[in-house]
């Protein structure tokens, strides 16, 4: 099943038991308010990727 980028946006973010709910100060911080970018922005971002980048990417061996 291929999930379209737009479909993924429509799914509600599930409640995560590890994240404490907002409320009084002891319950932990609440989620940041973010302006949700348009999914087309991500597609544009991907189209800007240089197809050559992985070919040019060379690293030193690490641990």
């Amino acid at each position: 099943m291929i999930v379209r980028i737009e479909d993924r946006l429509r799914r509600p973010a599930p409640a995560d038991p590890m994240r404490k709910p907002g409320g009084d100060g002891d319950d932990g911080p609440s989620s940041p308010k973010v302006n949700r970018p348009n999914p087309n922005d991500l597609l544009k971002r991907m189209k800007r990727v240089d197809p050559d980048q992985a070919r040019r990417y060379r690293q030193r061996s690490g641990e």
Partner: protein, 504 residues
């Protein structure tokens, strides 16, 4: 879970117009661009990466012969301290150049959300350093990747450290963790387009960035002929009381959820070992299994056991989960309860529809995104664009990286807030000895001569004092922290900490 853990990440670095021979210098420049007060140098005395948990010390560590071709005689010989350019930060972390990779080691943490926040803080700090370096007149654009492979045969690590009692025998660690480490990549893997160590005749998408690079079961080596279970015996604590399990077989995760699950499940398994539990399985060939699982395009993820049976990787993982539920589920703390719940959910999804995990597991998120794009553009997995998109998933620039694009769309589960990450950039966990390290550097910077994980060398009025942090290796007592926090005098800090017993 009662343990202390941390993550050290070697970041990939690309600088326009530079080749691999330049990367040591480029990584030094990035690290030296760190703008805030920090202590330096690192105190390497007492560190011994050649000591092996099996009770011996090797004569030398194995180096990658293919990497040696990039060594270039330095215009001016550098000392190790200059080359490493260590910075010890006020949040208790360590930032330095490790052989051409900017490396960030989180401070010691005692809770999963804390660790996730500090791992993410490392991304922010390294990105800020790279941005500053890019802006300098003598530099070209610097791009940083949180990944483990350059698609040309080189790999670099994201290592986890777990504090364990010395009483847990090495043989128990090896037998207990080998099946777990081989199979956990089904949810910890960051995904990779292609393969170069054993090139594939057809385009493939692997589970893991690192899977191809493990060629032995156990060894003290980390640079070449890498082992699934690293036997380095360097506890950075009282070696009579503790050992540190140094895990090198994991991928660098961008997903907060994946990072928490990777470390959480590992910590839970180690808790089982502390209780003398042994897994009832032995893999027939762990090295072949870790490579084959990563490359399995069928997603059956089968592993062969000693004795001839073949099972699924999820079956192996379930053995650990079920033991953990039985032994730890009754009075589980918050972290353990989260791990047990999410581990079960993830294994269920992996057995029925792995693509359900696109909002939390890095390999699934990446594969889903890339497959959609390739299909819409009329490309396939063998096209060079696929690998470049793979790389861009790991770009830590929030305006360019594809993981960050997904997160900004709300497509990725989060465990911590940006405020928590920002706090972690500037403050150490207050539950571990990292708090002492960070606050000494913040409050008494002029007195710090050197620092390391377990000691700080201070100089006051010509007098040298070594602040031994070993008694705090297993955690920082809240009452002691409050007493220290209220004291303005470094002399009093030294007296209070110096009075601690070794097993405090």
């Amino acid at each position: 879970m009662e343990t202390i853990f941390g993550i050290e990440t070697e970041y990939g670095i690309f600088v326009d117009g530079r080749d691999p021979s330049d990367l040591v210098n480029e990584a030094i420049h990035v690290v030296q661009s760190y703008p805030r007060p920090a202590a330096s140098p690192w105190d390497y005395r007492g560190e011994d990466p050649r000591r092996d948990m099996r009770g011996f010390r090797v004569g030398h560590l194995t180096h990658n012969p293919d990497d040696a071709r990039y060594d270039r005689p330095a215009e001016r010989p550098m000392s190790m301290q200059e080359e490493r350019s260590d910075r010890i930060l006020v949040n208790g972390a360590r930032l330095y150049n490790d052989h051409g990779h900017p490396e960030y080691s989180t401070p010691e943490c005692s809770a999963l959300r804390q660790l996730v926040a500090h791992d993410k803080a490392g991304e922010r700090i390294i990105f800020d350093c790279a941005r500053r370096r890019s802006a300098s007149p003598e530099s070209a654009a610097v791009t940083i990747y949180k990944n483990n492979s350059d698609y040309h045969g080189m790999s670099y690590g994201c290592h986890e450290s777990y504090l364990l009692p010395r009483s847990v025998p090495f043989e128990a660690i090896l037998a207990g963790m080998l099946p777990f480490f081989v199979t956990r990549q089904i949810y910890t893997g960051a995904g990779k387009v292609g393969a170069e160590v054993r090139p594939s005749p057809i385009p493939i998408f692997q589970l893991s960035q690192r899977g191809d690079f493990f060629s032995v079961e156990t060894s003290v080596d980390t640079l070449h002929q890498r082992p699934i279970v690293n036997t380095r015996d360097e506890p950075h604590a009282d070696a009579r009381l503790f050992r540190r399990l140094h895990v090198i077989c994991g991928d660098a995760n961008l997903s907060e959820y994946a990072t928490a699950l990777k470390v959480g499940t590992t910590a839970v398994c180690l808790e089982l070992l502390k209780r003398d539990w042994k897994p009832p399985v032995t893999l027939e060939n762990p090295v072949a299994a870790i490579q084959n699982l990563s490359r399995d395009q069928s997603w059956q993820w089968l592993v062969n056991l000693e004795g001839g049976k073949t099972v699924r990787a999820t079956d192996v993982q379930r053995l650990y989960l079920e033991a953990a539920e039985k032994q730890l589920g009754g009075d589980a703390d918050e972290d353990t309860a989260w791990v047990l719940k999410e581990w079960a959910v993830v294994l269920q999804a992996l057995e029925h529809d792995p693509l359900e995990l696109a909002d939390r597991i890095d390999w699934v998120a990446k594969r889903t995104l890339l497959e959609q794009f390739l299909k819409e553009e009329g490309l396939d997995w063998g096209d060079e664009m696929a690998q470049s998109l793979d790389l861009e998933y790991h770009n830590i620039d929030p305006d360019q990286g594809l993981f960050y694009g997904l997160e900004q769309m709300g497509a990725m589960r989060r465990l911590v807030t940006d405020e928590e990450i920002e706090r972690a950039v500037n403050h150490a966990p207050d539950t571990t000895r990292a708090w002492v390290r960070g606050e000494v550097i913040r409050r008494f910077p002029e007195a710090v001569r050197t620092a390391s994980w377990n000691k700080i060398t201070l100089e006051q009025q010509g007098q040298i004092t070594i602040l031994d942090l070993n008694p705090l290796a297993a955690g920082l007592d809240p009452e002691l922290r409050e007493r220290l926090d209220a004291i303005q005098s470094l002399t009093e800090w030294v007296r209070l900490i110096g009075a601690l017993r070794p097993d405090a």
